[in-house]
C-alpha cells in the first residue's frame, strides 16, 4: 500500500542513510523541528508550511509521495552491502596511527594503547578460546546492521582500553552479552556494570571505598573497554547511528565496579539472580542517569523515588553502602532485598509495578551510610567463567595495582605523608 512517512527535518540525513543501508529510500517529508512540546499554533504552521529540506509545501509533498509513479530506482531498490573489514591496517608511524584512530572515531577521545600484533597476541593469552571464535553481534541502534566480532576483535579493543590479559575474561563476557553500553537514543542512555564472584579479587577490582571513582585500574580499564567495544563493535557514528542529544559522561566508564560481597549482609546480587555464589558474573544495567544520593530508612527511599520518577519512570537501581544494607536488615527487618523491592513498588504504584524493576547492589567502604539512586533497569547477568583459561586467570608476574584504600587499622589513620 502506498505509504508516506513524515519525520522531522532534524532526522533527514539519518533516515536517508538508513534508507541506503536498508535498500529502500522511502518518500519522506520533513517538517521543521521540534514537534514535541511546542504549541498547537506552531504545529499548524509546520503543516501549512514548507518542508525546509526540499522547500516544497509539506502537504503537497505528502500527496506526491502517495501519487507520483515509482521511479526505476525505486522499483529496483537494493540493499547496499558494507565491505568486509581487513584484519590489519596499513603500517604507519605511531603518531600517524594515533591520529588515524582518533580521526576515524575509533576511540573515546582519550589516548589509547595501539593494538599491535604483539600486544593483541599477549591479550589473547587471557583466554583459551580460539582468536577467530565468534563472540557476538552488536549495534547501538535498534534497526541498523549488527557488527559481528571474534575473540581477536574484542582483544583489540581491550588492548586499546589499556587492559591486561587478567581483565580479558570480563571483557569477553561483556562482548558475549551483545549489549552496547551506549545504545543510541535521543534520550542519551547510560549503563552500569557490576562484577560478582571470585574474579573480583583475582584481578584487583574495587568494591570498597571509592569503587565508582577513578582510583582503581581494573574498574577503569574494564569499564572503558565496554565503551570502546560499543564504539567499534556496536558501530557508533555520531549523527548517523548515535543520536544522544546531550549524551552522558557515564558513557566513559559505565559505572564499572564490583559488589562488596564481603561486607554485605545480603546474598550477593548474582546469587539472587540464580547464579552460584562461587561463579563470577557481570551484571548489566541501563537507564539514563544517577538521580541523586541520600541517607535514611526505607520511608526516605520511597519519598525520594516518588519525587525523582523521571519521564520514563518506573525502574530504579540503588547502589548502597554496606552500612545501608546492614541497617535495612537489622533495623528494618529486610533479610531479602526483594521484599524491600516489593514494598517499594507497592507503595509507588508505578505503571509497570514489577518488584524486579527495583534493584539493590551493595558497593562502598562503610565510610557513610548513604545510598545512590539511579533510574537504571537490570537487564542481565552473564557468566565470566567460560572465558577464563582452564589454568586460571592469566596474571602478570607483578600485576599492576593502584594503591588500595589505607586502612585505619594499621595505626596510620590514613596519614601516609
Amino acid at each position: 500500500m502506498p505509504t508516506a512517512p513524515i519525520t522531522t527535518a532534524r532526522f533527514a540525513d539519518y533516515v536517508q542513510r538508513d534508507g541506503r543501508s536498508h535498500g529502500m529510500n522511502l518518500r519522506y517529508s520533513f517538517p521543521p523541528y521540534p514537534v514535541g512540546w511546542v504549541s498547537r499554533e506552531t504545529l499548524h504552521g509546520y503543516v501549512q508550511g514548507n518542508d525546509p529540506i526540499s522547500g516544497v509545501p509539506l502537504m503537497e509533498e505528502v500527496i506526491s509521495a502517495l501519487t507520483q509513479p515509482l521511479t526505476e530506482a525505486e522499483k529496483h531498490s537494493k540493499l547496499v552491502k558494507r565491505p568486509l573489514r581487513t584484519r590489519l591496517l596499513e603500517p604507519d608511524t605511531e603518531t600517524n596511527l594515533h591520529r588515524l584512530f582518533l580521526e576515524n572515531g575509533w576511540t573515546d577521545g582519550l589516548p589509547i594503547i595501539l593494538p599491535t600484533e604483539e600486544r593483541v597476541a599477549e591479550m589473547l593469552t587471557g583466554t583459551d578460546r580460539d582468536p577467530q571464535e565468534f563472540v557476538g553481534m552488536m549495534s547501538v541502534t535498534t534497526h541498523e546492521e549488527r557488527l559481528q566480532y571474534t575473540v581477536e576483535r574484542v582483544a583489540v579493543n581491550a588492548v586499546m582500553a589499556g587492559a591486561r590479559p587478567e581483565h580479558f575474561p570480563v571483557i569477553l563476557a561483556l562482548g558475549a552479552s551483545g549489549r552496547p553500553s551506549m545504545p543510541s537514543s535521543t534520550t542519551s542512555f547510560a549503563s552500569m556494570m557490576v562484577v560478582n564472584g571470585p574474579i573480583r579479587d583475582e584481578i584487583g577490582m574495587n568494591y570498597g571505598l571509592g569503587a565508582l571513582s577513578p582510583v582503581n585500574y581494573a574498574n577503569s580499564v574494564i569499564g572503558r573497554a565496554w565503551t570502546l567495544m560499543s564504539i567499534n563493535l556496536g558501530d557508533v557514528r555520531p549523527g548517523a547511528t548515535f543520536t544522544a542529544s546531550t549524551g552522558t559522561t557515564i558513557n566513559y566508564n559505565n559505572m564499572c565496579c564490583a559488589e562488596n560481597e564481603e561486607l554485605s549482609v545480603w546474598e550477593p546480587f548474582h546469587a539472587r539472580k540464580g547464579f552460584k555464589r562461587d561463579e563470577s558474573t557481570v551484571s548489566l544495567f541501563r537507564g539514563w542517569t544517577v538521580l541523586g544520593f541520600n541517607t535514611g530508612p526505607v520511608q526516605r527511599m520511597l519519598e525520594v523515588m516518588k519525587n525523582l520518577s523521571g519521564p520514563f519512570g518506573g525502574a530504579f537501581t540503588f547502589v548502597i553502602d554496606p552500612l545501608v544494607a546492614k541497617s535495612l536488615k537489622h533495623e528494618e527487618g529486610y533479610d531479602d532485598p526483594m521484599e524491600l523491592s516489593k514494598w517499594l513498588v507497592e507503595k509507588m504504584q508505578t505503571r509497570f509495578g514489577r518488584p524486579e524493576m527495583v534493584n539493590f547492589v551493595v558497593v562502598g567502604g562503610e565510610m557513610n551510610p548513604m545510598w545512590v539512586i539511579t533510574d537504571f533497569s537490570y537487564f542481565q547477568s552473564t557468566s565470566i567463567d567460560p572465558w577464563i583459561p582452564k589454568s586460571g586467570i592469566r596474571k602478570d608476574e607483578r600485576p599492576l595495582r593502584m594503591p588500595e584504600a589505607v586502612a585505619s587499622a594499621d595505626g596510620s589513620c590514613g596519614i601516609s605523608h
Binding site: P2, A4, I6, R10, H22, H44, V47, T67, L70, L147
Partner: protein, 128 residues
C-alpha cells in the same frame, strides 16, 4: 601525514558486517526489548532486499487515507493538524486518524489489517 620514523602494524578495531538487522518489536514484546539483544526481533539482508515499494495511486480523489500517529511526542497533535489540512484542502479525500496502541517501536498487526481492508494509502507521522 608524515611517514618519518619506525612503522607499526596494528589490527583493525571495527566489527565485521553481519547481514543481520534489527526490526520493530513483536506485538507481545515488552517495550524495553527494543534495546535488548536477547529479545529484539531481527531481519536479514535477504529479507530486507526482497521488500519492494508499493505502486502509487493515480490520485487520492475519493480514496481513504489512514493517518497513523506513531507515538512520538507531539505526533498526536501533529497528525490532527494533518487531518485538518485534508478536511480543509482536499475534502474529497476521506481520512481516518489512528494511534498506535503500544510504543512507536512495536508492531500493530490489527491496525495494519484494518488499513489493508479499508484504506488506500497511509501517512505515518511524525518521527523525531
Amino acid at each position: 601525514m608524515s611517514k618519518k620514523g619506525p612503522t607499526l602494524t596494528v589490527l583493525d578495531p571495527v566489527g565485521q558486517p553481519s547481514g543481520v538487522f534489527g526490526r520493530r518489536l513483536d506485538v507481545d514484546s515488552p517495550p524495553w526489548a527494543i534495546h535488548d539483544p536477547e529479545n529484539q526481533p531481527r531481519d536479514t539482508a535477504e529479507a530486507l532486499g526482497a521488500m519492494k515499494m508499493a505502486p502509487r495511486l493515480d490520485s487520492l480523489e475519493g480514496k481513504t487515507v489512514y493517518l497513523v500517529n506513531t507515538g512520538f511526542a507531539g505526533a498526536k497533535e501533529f497528525m490532527e493538524e494533518v487531518q485538518d489540512w485534508f478536511t480543509r484542502n482536499r475534502p474529497s479525500v476521506k481520512t481516518e486518524l489512528r494511534h498506535k496502541k503500544t510504543s512507536m517501536f512495536t508492531d500493530d498487526p490489527e491496525l495494519w489489517a484494518e488499513i489493508k481492508k479499508n484504506g488506500d494509502a497511509v501517512v505515518f507521522g511524525v518521527g523525531g
